[in-house]
């Protein structure tokens, strides 16, 4: 097991090197540079040239890459061209927001997806099953930004039940030592702040969780359908176990394996930054930050931010793989 983990961690090195090369050349393949993006109407040829020289963009690309690699290896991800803040500081501030949103979205998706999928399978071929299938199809196909604007229109604008933007009521003065607002509120025992943070999380989490919800519902349904026809389930029923017990101990438990894989992978995706949801809800996480960076051709932010997310994605995948062994004792890593 330990050897497996070490081997997977060592694999990170070539993966991250590959990712760094891809990002580096991809953002340079985008038309334009930070110089033109920053200067706007003031982009005279002389000013553009001056800025290009200052950012080192006049040097050959391999030299630029080498310089970037050296500074990155020393732990310095640089300074944002647009905001003039250190990329590392921005990540420290924004990543907790993305994690909090991803967790909220997954709680919503799992909390509703697993029961919905389970009931759909139980009522296979019935109205509830069909309705769930159509619903999950909608969940996958409705664009997130459209759903987000719709949710905001009804819950924030029309009924004024939930806030439309941000992570907290800006008039509150809760300290944020961890930048996980729900956790911060609990630490401070500030129940108003906790309540406020939860309210701010609801709509973005629903919008972001809509696709995982649809996926989890369908996988759960398929998995439960598979498992409930297994011999051991029939045996359990034949033994005279109450239906609820059969479902809980034999069906749901065994159906969980593929579901947990999907949950892990979806979490990895959500942590990679929810660009649209974060933008529409002015959620100050990684996604909205990277979106602004693309418009500003902010090379240091794109390079540092995406590399960081690549590490996160790989780590989440590793954790998912390792968790198989915990859930399914038949799997052993060597």
């Amino acid at each position: 097991m330990l050897r497996y983990v070490v081997r997977r961690l060592l694999l990170l090195v070539p993966i991250l090197l590959g990712v760094s090369i891809l990002i580096f050349f991809w953002i340079r393949a985008l038309p334009g540079s930070p110089a033109e993006a920053l200067l706007g109407e003031r982009a005279t040829p002389q000013l553009v040239q001056q800025l290009r020289e200052r950012y080192g963009l006049d040097k050959p690309v391999y030299q630029q890459y080498w310089a970037y690699l050296k500074t990155t290896l020393s732990g310095d991800l640089g300074v944002s061209v647009a905001t003039h803040r250190r990329v590392v500081d921005e990540i420290r501030q924004r990543f907790p927001a993305t994690i909090e949103l991803a967790i909220g979205a997954m709680i919503f998706a799992v909390g509703f997806g697993v029961p919905l999928g389970f009931f759909a399978a139980k009522k296979y071929g019935g109205f509830f099953d069909h309705a769930t299938l159509v619903g999950s199809l909608l969940g996958i196909s409705v664009p997130i930004f459209f759903l987000a604007i719709l949710l905001k229109y009804f819950f924030s604008v029309k009924w004024q039940l939930l806030p439309s933007v941000g992570r907290e009521d800006v008039t509150l003065n809760t300290p944020h030592p961890t930048n996980f607002y729900i956790l911060d509120a609990i630490i401070a025992r500030d129940w108003n702040a906790l309540w406020d943070a939860i309210q701010h999380l609801i709509l973005p989490a629903i919008a972001l969780g809509s696709i995982p919800l649809a996926v989890i519902t369908r996988i759960t349904r398929a998995s439960v359908l598979d498992v409930q026809n297994e011999d051991y389930v029939r045996t359990a029923r034949a033994k005279g176990l109450p239906p609820l017990e059969v479902d809980r101990r034999h069906v749901l438990r065994n159906a969980l394996l593929p579901i947990s894989t999907i949950i892990g992978l979806q979490t990895g995706l959500l942590l990679s930054g929810a660009v649209l949801t974060e933008t529409v809800f002015a959620w100050p996480g990684m996604g909205s930050w990277l979106r602004d960076a693309i418009f500003a051709r902010d090379y240091p932010v794109l390079q540092g931010g995406i590399l960081f997310l690549a590490v996160v994605f790989v780590m989440v995948n590793l954790i998912v793989d390792l968790s198989y062994a915990l859930i399914n004792p038949r799997i052993r890593y060597s």
Partner: protein, 550 residues
Amino acid sequence: MRGYMKRLALPVAAIAVLVAAGTAGGASRATTLVFAGASDPTYLDPALVSDGESFRVTNQIFEGLVRLKPGTTIVQPDLATSWSSKDAKNWNFNLRKGVKFHDGTPFNSAAVCFNYNRQYNFTGAFQDASATYYWQTVMGGFHHNASSSLSPSLYIGCTPHGPYKVTIHLRTPSGPFLSAQVISSFAIQSPTALKKYGADQGELRNGVFYPTGSYAFSHPTGTGPFKFVSWSVGQRVVLSRNANYWGKKPRIDTLIIRPISDNTARLQALQSGDVQGYDLVAPEHINTIKSNSKLKVLNRPSFNVAYVTIHQGPGSPMNDLKVRQAVAYGLDRASVVRTFYAGRGIVANEFQPPQLFGYSKSVTKYPFNPTKAKALLNSSSCHVPCKIDFWYPTNVSRPYMPDPKRNFEAFSASLTQAGFQVTAHSAPWRPDYVKHVNEGTAGDLNLIGWTGDFGDPDNFLGTFFQTYSPQFNFHNNAIFNILAKAEAQKSLAKRIALYKQANNMIMKYLPAVPYAHSQPALGFEKNVKGYVPSPVGTDPFDPVFVSGGV
């Protein structure tokens, strides 16, 4: 099944309770105003920033020697009560007495000289254009220029005469100097706080200026009506009322400025009560706000110009004045402004907004007249159909040009009617389009514009036509000389006359055709009163109050 339903009922009920108990936007904020801009400030040392979102905050914390009369471009006293200059080189300022910085230290002539000398003596990373854009725009260079591309500094010294009088010395006479001092970058900051919190520590990292002291992030200290409380990046900047303010004290206790980058999100935040006002209303949202009985739209006076560049050059039909005149008569500007500016634009007849001094009422006007345009073409070197390349930008909406593509389509149709054969070219705004326009490689005609930085015609006419620019490839020494003379002139009356003369000549020789001045919009709750939008975005929040509140 009933058991399952029971279990399901619990989380559903919990969510329902959560939603029902929500009190978004319902909190009492009688003495707090929450306002949304489009992004965070860069930092809060006004000498080191050049963007509107930073200035929105620094304008509340800091004050300069002079400021603009609210809603206008008229310079009026601020920390200086009066000023004079015999030669436009040496400027004497009488300073306001009894003013204190937020840290309790006194404002006086030593503080003024300290601030000007601070920027004048900047070295190293601080001489980077990304750090001191406005010092370099107005003053040129520094005491010791590190780069040969910097020009000698216009500012050369400051002499205190007792605690409340200073003279600022310039290298050459400068008329626009005074108007430029309203820019927040020239605000007076507490020397004690600047030194204490390392304001002059900074470095270039990967070519980008980065202040390493804490002043610009957490200790900005001025004399203004609001004091800095906190800044949480991505969330909010909190300012509180300065109870010891020398002038009329703010009517709100707390001002919170939060960044919301998405246009629709800003609108919905206003509709839901999460913010009480916001800037940069998208044109398509104006009617939504107007139709809401609880909301209102405020107009920012126009301080921009949209224009059609006419690029001259070897073999270009545009070298012929008659062709340029035909272009001017062939652009149906009135119809474009009427149709695409949602009632928020006026036809531009010259290159500066009407409220700026130097605006001329006697410029040659070019109302849409396709018959006259055709006649001009047939008597020119480019007969009907005169073939021209016309560029427009994509993926962009500028304050002065909300919908470039449709502007282009309308202009293209009217030019065709006027005897031109238009070949369309488009390029994404960032970065190709602006680069092509500035380098003079964006066809015979292209759509572009400008938003002013400060209230002086030099910031418009001087920017475009004081020297040769590859954008227009227009040579007219008479115009260049008039504008240089106007810049160096000390007498306002003479400057006005010179700018009027320049405007008349520019519209006679047509290096370009201005077509619109637009009014950006702000959205507010109706009970927010006292907000006066400034043409240059230096909106003061101290007169603002929430009716029913204080």
